[in-house]
Subunit: 441 residues, 2 copies
């Protein structure tokens, strides 16, 4: 039997978020930064309540782990402690110090005497984020949304329901105390509410699903609201003929092993045939030492047989399209950079691609031609991340073609509008009169 709903309806909350967004759009940086400061204070004041709520979530989750219905990794991500809350506070302090992302003039043109066009950054409006397990994500995302003047609807995972409620209460209290508009932050708790959210295309401007492929795909299929994110993270490490092979081994290991479940982990190595005989056995040995299962195409397996990497399993066509999210990797030997680029075009997910090479011309071509949010040289794919990029935090990583793309921080939570100021200017007068189109200093 479902519990009686205490919260207002989703429709009422999205409408309230829309009203809040209008007020936030005209709020000052000082008002938004004061809200961030109040968030920090609330994380101290309500700390005992938050940790108690989290302890209850963790206790419930532990039974799930014991019963084999939840992984230990998920339980670790669920757990809050003093250190994580202090990190959260530091993140909010850093966010407060960042420049205001709103009101930046990115184009200014005089169209004619007294008629000035300016393109100015502004908030997107109402952003809905659907996130899983890590409750501290709620406070990070709430911080990014507030700094960028967006109203936020947040739906957390059921396993963190008590933690999220305690955090949201603390943050909402902080917003109210600062006089920031009601509706700036709203927590959705029920899975049924998500369906309503996906239909609220008049009042929600952007949906950010943070979660597995299935979640992202199902949301993309179920809404006409723009969805920011990525369903797949199928990243390659491409080892050029001119690669430093020790470096290539180190990068391949980092890209696969450092956190195999991450979307920016590598799934496939593409190896130039000229270096395959030396590289394939070396990388296979290094990966196996770290517990990775290595699969290969015929040429990779032949190389492995000649080295220490014998007994390599066959990589079939399906492997090239598989995001293992686990300690498994596939190796394909390619004839040249062209074949590698073709492979990436056909099988890549436009997330992050890295080329290991000492050849500047090969890199120039790779950089220009590879169609992905991140294109790297001599660096691990795992660097594709908002924190590592210096954005403070991220609401997600987008593999879409339009802005925002890649890790999405403050810059990705703003859009722009064109402001035109005249003095009674009418289009009819320009049938015969030219525009000046002069850049404004």
């Amino acid at each position: 039997m479902p519990e009686p709903t205490r919260d207002p309806s989703v429709a009422a909350r999205t409408r309230r978020a829309r009203e809040a967004a209008a007020a936030l759009a005209r709020s000052s940086r000082a008002a938004r930064d004061a809200g961030l400061q109040a968030f920090e204070a609330a994380l101290d004041e309500d700390r005992a309540t938050i940790l108690a709520a989290n302890a209850a979530d963790v206790a419930a989750a532990s039974s799930e782990v014991a019963a084999g219905r939840m992984t230990r990794a998920l339980l670790d991500r669920l757990k809050l402690d003093e250190r994580k809350l202090d990190d959260l506070k530091r993140g909010l302090t850093a966010l407060r110090a960042m420049p205001d992302p709103l009101g930046r003039v990115t184009l200014a043109t005089e169209l004619d005497d007294g008629l000035a066009l300016r393109r100015v950054t502004c908030p997107i409006g109402v952003v809905a984020v659907i996130f899983e397990s890590r409750p501290e994500a709620l406070a990070q995302i709430a911080g990014l949304a507030l700094k960028s003047g967006n109203a936020l609807l947040a739906k957390g995972g059921s396993e963190a329901a008590r933690s999220n409620r305690a955090l949201a209460d603390a943050l909402e209290g902080a917003l109210a105390a600062c006089g920031l508009p009601d509706g700036t932050l709203s927590l959705l708790t029920d899975r049924a509410e998500v369906a309503e959210l996906l239909g609220a295309d008049r009042d929600v401007d952007l949906i950010v699903p943070r979660g597995g492929n299935a979640l992202v795909r199902s949301i993309q299929r179920s809404t006409s609201i723009p969805v920011l994110g990525h369903a797949d993270g199928l990243c390659h490490v491409t080892v050029d003929r001119a690669a430093d092979l020790d470096m290539a081994v180190a990068i391949a290991v980092d890209a696969k092993v450092q956190y195999a479940a991450a979307c920016n982990a590598a799934e496939t190595l593409l190896v130039h045939r000229d270096v395959a005989a030396r590289f394939v056995p070396a990388v296979t040995e290094a990966l196996r030492e770290r517990g990775v299962e290595v699969r290969g195409d015929d040429r990779a397996r032949a190389c492995a047989e000649r080295g220490a990497g014998g007994g390599m399993a066959i990589a079939t066509d399906a492997d090239w399209d598989t995001e293992y999210s686990d300690l498994v990797i596939a190796i394909r030997v390619v004839d040249d950079l062209d074949e590698a680029l073709q492979h990436i075009r056909r099988h890549g997910s436009r997330h992050t691609e890295t080329l290991v090479t000492e050849d500047d011309a090969a890199w120039q071509r790779f950089a220009a031609e590879v169609d992905a949010a991140g294109v790297f040289r001599n660096a691990s794919t795992r660097f594709a991340d908002g924190f590592r990029y210096g954005f403070g935090a991220e609401v997600g990583i987008s593999t879409g073609k339009l802005h925002p793309r890649g890790p999405v921080g403050l810059d990705g939570l703003v859009t722009y509008k064109y402001l035109l100021e005249g003095n009674g200017h009418r289009v009819a007068d320009y049938a015969t009169r030219p525009f000046t189109h002069r850049p404004i200093g």
Copy 2:
């Protein structure tokens, strides 16, 4: 009985466009500008053929007009002549002179010693444009696409089929002569091909429908490919208490009358009650002189009765949501700016909104709070246009929230990627080591 298809399948052409896009992404500005110059030459060399093809389209369309199946306005838009082709050439020359939109570095950060992150503009990839009647749009859009390094799939209206084929032959010949990749431009001619196009989400990155609400909505519903455009253009002229009323009348007339079928024409006037008694009769008289039917709410009609504007029809709730695209306008009297902003939020289409006011504070609030691609002061909504903004031309106008927004020229046809260059950098080393996150000069 359908004619046998001579063109390759849509799937073959979208794949070829994808391959062409990869080559265009690494093409030099010089190569793309040479293509534009070849476009200009082809418009001269093939001029007789193009005009003959257009004459055949116009002859066929004239019978349609005579039979009442096509409007004369559409026929006028279909017609090409020497002047229009010369204008096209001038537009291409201007485009050639514009700076390269590709390869601009919009962010540069050192993450650590020898690890440099750059955000660089790059083409979107494969863009599909569905356009109606005006055949010169094909050459304008082909120019914008080439300058920005995008492969283009273009589908024109059947009434301009011969003109579009002649233009496309000229442009494709120019591309081939310059050594630009096969697949850079492809003309789709059959309505059935559009359905295939909408399903080609692997090979098409962006769809731009230029046409009526019904076309745009049907495309938005039928594809998972991002759609750039606007279904509605419901723009308001808001007349503040502090408006110069003569100016307000002139702007209202221009915004309604100058081209009533345009998406940036005004559909509703929102008038502050303090000036309604003077403004409503004056604007009603001026609009009626230009053949406009004026409707009003109760307060507007009462004002009209007292002046020269008697006999005003009633505007019902449905009027506030109607894009007349014709010489009809509705007037609503509002209590204050708040009520006007509420009305715009509820009924506007986020296209273009203008406020007539001499009050800076009212403008500041309007500019910050109105959620639209264009927010104007003391200027006609009709200025919302790529040519008037100085973008050379536009592929369309977007009312979406993400980039591109507003009139879309070259800037809107590029996206970006993050390039990261290291020297064997691994994420594992940063468990204990901080990033520098230093801006690169």
